[in-house]
Amino acid sequence: MAEGFKFELVSPARLVLSEEATQVVVPGSEGDFTMLKGHSPFMTTVRPGVVEVTVSGGRIARIFVRGGFADASPAGLTILAEQAIPVEELKADVIAREIQDAEEDVADASTDEVKRVAQEKLDQLRAVFAATTPAGH
C-alpha cells in the first residue's frame, strides 16, 4: 500500500478537509497533476475543476474547487481555494450561480485580456459541470 502524506484543503470560510491521503489529483492551471508522497516543492495556480483525493484507507473524495493555489512540498499538500464544494453537494442552483457569476465577469471585463481570462474560466466551469452532473439527475 502506498504511503500517505498530509493533505489539507482550505477555503476562506473554513478548513474543508484535513486528512492523510495517499494520492491527490489536482487540476493545475497548466494541466492536471497527481501528487504522491515525497513530491518536490511545487506551487501552481488551480483552474476550476475537481480535486480527487484518495484518503488513506482507499475512500475517494471528490471536491469541486475554484480559484486558488496548490502548494506541494515533501511535507504534504495544501490547496487554498476560494470556493470548495464536495461534488455530492453540487446542486443545480449552486451551479447556476457559479455560471452566472462567471458570465457577469465576462460581461464586465474592461480589457480584452481580462475578457479572455474570464471567458476561459467560464468555459472551464461549463466543462466541469457537464462532467460532474450525470444526465437524468
Partner: protein, 292 residues
C-alpha cells in the same frame, strides 16, 4: 418629591428597559459564539496564505521589479484609510474606538502634509467620521442586509480597493478594525494593506528549498496578492463581527446591572414614601379622633 404614581411608572419603565437589555445580551452571546467560530474557521486560510506569500515574496526583497501591490508604488502622498465598523450601535465603545483610531491617524497624516481619503465599511463608523471628514470620505460600503458574511463580500471590498489603487487614487492603504481578544477586550488595530506587509516570522514549510512554480513565480504572485488583500479584508470583517458581539454583550450586561440597581433604589424610595403616606393618614385619623 415625585408622587407614588410617578414612581410606579418609573419602576415599570426601567423594568421594561432591563428586559430589553437582558434579551440583547443573550442574543449577542449566541451571535458571539457563531462569529467566534467563523473567525476561528477562517484562520487556517489566512495563515497558509501568509506562509505561501512569505515564501514567494522573499525572492523579491529589495528588487525594483517587485509587483506594486507588494512593494507599493514608491510614493506615500495619498493615504487611504479603510475603516471597518459595525452597522449597529448599542455595543459600548466598539464603533467609537475604531473611529477614534482612524481619526487620530488621519489628523497625524494631515499634519504631516499628506492627503487622506477614507473608505468606510459599515454605517456607524461613517456616521462618526462624517462630522469631521465629510469631504474626505470617498465611499461608504454597507452590509446592512447581510446576515452571514462570506468571502465574496470581502472580495468586493478588496476589488474596490484594488481598482482605486490601479487608477492611482492613493499610494498607501491602511485597514482599521477591531481585533477580538476576548469578550471584554477588543483591540482597535491598524493594518497596512498596500504595500503588503509580509509576515517575517512565518515558518517556511520547506526550510528555504527552491519552489518550482507553474506558471511562473511572477504570475502566481500576481494572482496571490489580490487574493491576499481580500483575505485580509475578510479576516478583518470576521474579527470585527466577533468583537462587535463581544462588546455588545458586555455593554448590555452592565446596562442590565445598572437597571437592576436603579430598580432597587426606586423601589426603596417608593416603599418609603408609601410608608410615609400611611403614617401621615394614620396620624390624621388619630388626631381627628382625639379632637372629638
Amino acid at each position: 418629591m415625585p408622587s407614588l404614581k410617578d414612581l410606579r411608572n418609573r419602576i415599570a419603565s426601567v423594568k421594561a428597559t432591563q428586559k430589553i437589555t437582558k434579551a440583547m445580551q443573550m442574543v449577542a452571546a449566541a451571535k458571539l459564539r457563531r462569529a467566534q467560530q467563523a473567525a476561528e474557521a477562517a484562520r487556517p486560510f489566512a495563515e497558509r496564505m501568509a506562509s505561501v506569500l512569505a515564501n514567494l515574496a522573499g525572492a523579491y526583497e529589495g528588487r525594483a521589479d517587485a509587483p506594486v501591490l507588494l512593494a507599493g508604488n514608491g510614493r506615500s502622498d495619498v493615504h487611504l484609510l479603510v475603516v471597518c465598523t459595525a452597522e449597529r450601535g448599542l455595543c459600548g465603545a466598539f464603533n467609537s474606538s475604531i473611529a477614534r483610531l482612524a481619526r487620530d491617524t488621519a489628523h497625524r497624516l494631515i499634519a504631516e502634509g499628506k492627503e487622506v481619503k477614507i473608505l468606510c465599511v459599515g454605517r456607524k463608523g461613517a456616521d462618526q467620521l462624517r462630522r469631521l471628514f465629510a469631504d474626505k470620505i470617498v465611499e461608504v460600503i454597507e452590509f446592512k442586509a447581510v446576515r452571514q458574511l462570506t468571502f465574496d463580500h470581502a472580495d468586493g471590498v478588496g476589488r474596490k480597493i484594488r481598482a482605486m489603487f490601479e487608477a492611482g487614487e492613493f499610494d498607501v492603504a491602511t485597514l482599521f478594525f477591531s481585533r477580538f481578544k476576548s469578550v471584554i477586550q477588543q483591540v482597535p488595530t491598524a493594518h497596512q494593506l498596500i504595500p503588503a506587509q509580509v509576515p517575517t516570522g512565518a515558518v517556511s514549510t520547506v526550510g528555504g528549498a527552491i519552489y518550482e512554480c507553474e506558471p511562473g513565480e511572477e504570475e502566481i504572485l500576481a494572482d496571490l496578492l489580490p487574493r491576499n488583500l481580500s483575505t485580509q479584508v475578510f479576516r478583518a470583517l470576521l474579527e470585527n463581527a466577533a468583537s462587535e458581539q463581544g462588546a455588545r454583550m458586555s455593554a448590555m450586561d452592565s446596562a442590565t446591572r445598572n437597571a437592576g440597581e436603579m430598580i432597587k433604589k426606586l423601589t426603596t424610595t417608593y416603599n418609603r414614601s408609601r410608608q410615609a403616606m400611611i403614617t401621615k393618614e394614620l396620624i390624621e385619623i388619630i388626631s381627628g379622633a382625639d379632637a372629638v
